[in-house]
């Protein structure tokens, strides 16, 4: 019996020491050989990025890329966890949404890269794109695409219902949806939206807020999204599901990724979503390939159109031990060649202004013309250091209105009060 115990004791000591030496060995070897960059990317462009890694590694034989991708909804929390985990568990390059800039910059999680920007970048990249990486006059990365919530429609279904053009106003949208439903051209409701409690809901609200003529803050920085236009916007979201019955009531438990499926299968006629939808909708296995068009988001109250922005950029984490190599990778992905390739393959809107008139691109991507138009009508979510806390409150309040627990006015007033409180901090 004694023997067994001492063997156990010995082996446990051995295992413990083995673990330790293994750890230190791994660290020391990484400084000599090729540098491995850990990159955390959102799912949406992961396929494309994985595809061009080979090319980058060929150009830079001393850098290896280890790309990890997660769903957008998990991205922020995973990054925060990594930033706080010390150098060993962290990433070198992180995917950052425009709304996180204030938080990440304030927390010193990502590096100021203002000095690394070339004159070419400063003059060539669209200003609206560079602005998302800017906080207190410092730049924190390079944008990877210009994205807004686009309004996609199934031209085939609309033609069958006798409509030649997409809806220009939200009233027309309701009218057309009703006709499509009455004729049985769609399976159930004419569209579905992602109103579940996550960031997508705030984006959709932004789209409705903007297209009803509202905004989050006025020029003086007062919080105004709970004014009449805001209430109308939210009331319309409620009515789409209830009174008008043109939107699936499952919207309150779907997110902005799930609603793509039914549109892709041709079961719904409209969908509002990001630019990566385009690539998905026109992939070879897509039943609606070549049937989809992009229109301006409908308007109301005399507003022609407006939609939410949602671009993302790559930044270098503070804990990275190889910031120069990391910048090389970001520069590579932002380069004109790769941006052009990304636009052709994934359908994203490029960051370089001259690519919008590039003959190759405009002929292969006819939707660019309409997408470019939408870029002129946008509204951004408010930039707050405690953005996530505001966002979560707004999500809960919006949902309370959507499921009928509160009136739009009550819900928005509560969210505005929270925004006011966070602004004071």
């Amino acid at each position: 019996m004694k023997k067994i115990f001492s063997t156990l004791l010995l082996s446990s000591v051995l295992i413990l020491s083995a673990c330790q030496s293994g750890g230190s060995e791994g660290e020391s070897s990484s400084s000599d050989g090729p540098v491995t960059l850990k990159v955390l990317s959102s799912d949406d462009f992961a396929d494309f990025r994985t595809g061009v890694i080979d090319e980058f590694e060929k150009q830079n034989p001393d850098i290896k890329i280890d790309l990890e991708s997660v769903a957008y909804d998990q991205l922020h929390d995973k990054e925060i966890a990594a930033f706080n985990s010390g150098s060993s568990g962290g990433y070198d390059v992180v995917d950052v949404d425009e709304i996180w800039t204030a938080e990440y910059a304030e927390g010193a999680f990502i590096r100021d890269v203002s000095d690394m920007l070339t004159d070419d970048m400063k003059s060539g990249i669209l200003e609206s794109g560079m602005n998302i990486t800017k906080y207190n006059d410092k730049y924190y990365g390079l944008p990877m695409f210009n994205d807004v919530l686009f309004f996609y429609y199934n031209e085939d279904l609309l033609k069958q219902a006798g409509f030649d053009a997409p809806p220009a106003t939200w009233d027309e949208f309701v009218e057309m949806s009703t006709v499509l439903q009455d004729q049985g051209l769609v399976d159930g409701n004419a569209s579905n939206w992602g109103f579940s409690a996550n960031e997508g809901l705030v984006c959709y609200f932004t789209q409705f807020l903007g297209s009803h003529g509202g905004q989050y803050m006025d020029e003086q920085g007062n919080i105004v999204f709970n004014n009449e236009q805001g209430q109308q916007a939210l009331q319309f979201m409620v009515d789409m599901m209830g009174k008008h019955g043109v939107v699936d009531t499952s919207a309150v438990s779907a997110n902005d990724r799930q609603i793509l499926d039914s549109f892709k299968e041709g079961k719904t006629a409209f969908v509002s979503g990001w630019s990566f939808y385009w690539g998905e909708l026109n992939s070879d296995d897509s039943p609606v390939k070549d049937k989809i068009k992009v229109a301006l988001t409908p308007g109301a109250n005399g507003t022609e159109s407006s939609t939410a922005t949602g671009s993302m950029y790559l930044g270098i984490s503070q804990q990275s031990e190889h910031p120069e190599e990391a910048w090389k990778f970001i520069e590579f992905l932002a380069s004109k060649d790769i941006q052009k390739q990304q636009s052709t393959e994934a359908g994203s809107l490029p960051i370089w202004s001259d690519l919008y008139t590039d003959a190759d691109l405009t002929s292969s991507n006819p939707q660019f013309e309409n997408m470019g138009k939408q870029l002129e009508y946008t509204l951004s979510r408010p930039s707050l250091v405690n953005y996530n806390e505001f966002s979560k409150t707004l999500q809960n309040e919006l949902q309370a209105a959507l499921i009928g627990d509160k009136s739009p006015k009550e819900a928005l007033d509560a969210a505005a009060a929270k925004a006011e409180e966070l602004k004071q901090q």
Binding site: S12, N84, E106, D248, N396, A400
Partner: protein, 295 residues
């Protein structure tokens, strides 16, 4: 020397326990007493530590969010553990009887429990889907609801809470049944024979033999399941994300949200400690109640 030897043998496990459990707990307790937001890197600079004492705890206990979240969590805990115990005990009693194919049924019963919770959550979210979900389909086929008038189970706070409870019960009843079945099998058959000779009815036999001898196993099961149900997270995270309108926000989700999403580390640590207090309280109550009966 002879006296020291056992402690020496235990040292490795003590070290593991101290490093992996006690140190993190003390660390979290420390964090809950300072004002740590957004940036944990502050921890390496002691000048930035701003001791606030019990302020975090006071803020939590005086806010309404904590109490409504606690009520919701308690509802989920009691209803789901209650159902699991009731159904689990029935299953265990049935499976303890002799019948053809018993081994097969025992194996089948464990399948839901063998699923990872994540899979369980995704599965049930599909089941509840208002358009393509199995639950609506079955209800419509059976004539309880009309075709096309599908219910969005996850669409309102109360029904979403209950939907989550059903998913939880579906998965965890199996482990309750398994634990109770193991205890049932250890009860000697001679006791029942003796009781039968004395003329005890089957109900009397259950109350006077089965239940008292099963009590320790029930205690263990209750403590285990209550603690787990109180900490429910993955089901909520996948199925509702705390929605609709915060209606399924539970304690561990609140902790996660405050800590990981809002970066309020101290506030989150304080909530976590309050949560542990409740779990301890449950364990204490159960032990009091059930062991008293035994003595």
């Amino acid at each position: 020397m002879k006296k020291l030897q056992p402690y020496l043998y235990l040292t490795p496990s003590f070290i593991v326990v101290i490093c992996l459990i006690l140190v993190p707990i003390a660390y979290a307790l420390f964090i809950s007493f300072i004002d740590l937001t957004q940036n944990v890197n502050k921890l390496s600079d002691s000048e930035l530590w701003n001791f606030v004492g019990l302020e975090n705890y006071v803020e939590i206990l005086t806010g309404s969010v904590f109490w409504s979240t606690l009520a919701r969590t308690l509802y989920i805990t009691f209803v789901s553990v209650g159902l699991e115990l009731l159904i689990g005990l029935s299953i265990a009693l049935i499976l303890n009887e002799q019948f053809v194919g018993r081994g097969f049924v025992r194996g089948i019963m464990l399948i839901p429990w063998a699923f990872p919770t994540i899979v369980n959550a995704v599965l049930w979210r599909w089941f509840y889907d208002p358009n393509h979900g199995m639950v609506n389909g079955v209800l419509a086929k059976m004539g309880f609801i009309n075709e096309g008038e599908y219910i969005n189970f996850l669409g309102s706070a109360f029904s979403a809470l209950n939907a989550i409870i059903i998913a939880d019960v579906w998965k965890n009843t199996a482990i309750v049944a398994l634990l109770l079945l193991a205890a049932l099998q250890s009860i000697p058959g001679s006791l029942y024979e003796a009781a039968q000779i004395d003329g005890a009815s089957s109900w009397k036999r259950f109350v006077n033999i089965t239940f008292p001898l099963l009590a320790p196993a029930i205690l263990v099961t209750l403590v285990l399941r209550t603690m787990e149900a109180f900490k429910i997270f993955d089901l909520i995270y996948i199925m509702t994300g705390g929605g609709p309108a915060g209606g399924t926000q539970v304690m561990s989700f609140l902790t996660y949200q405050q800590t990981m999403m809002f970066g309020k580390y101290s506030y989150g640590a304080a909530i976590a400690f309050l949560m542990s207090l409740f779990v301890l309280l449950f364990a204490f109550l159960y032990i009091k109640l059930l062991y008293r009966d035994l003595e």
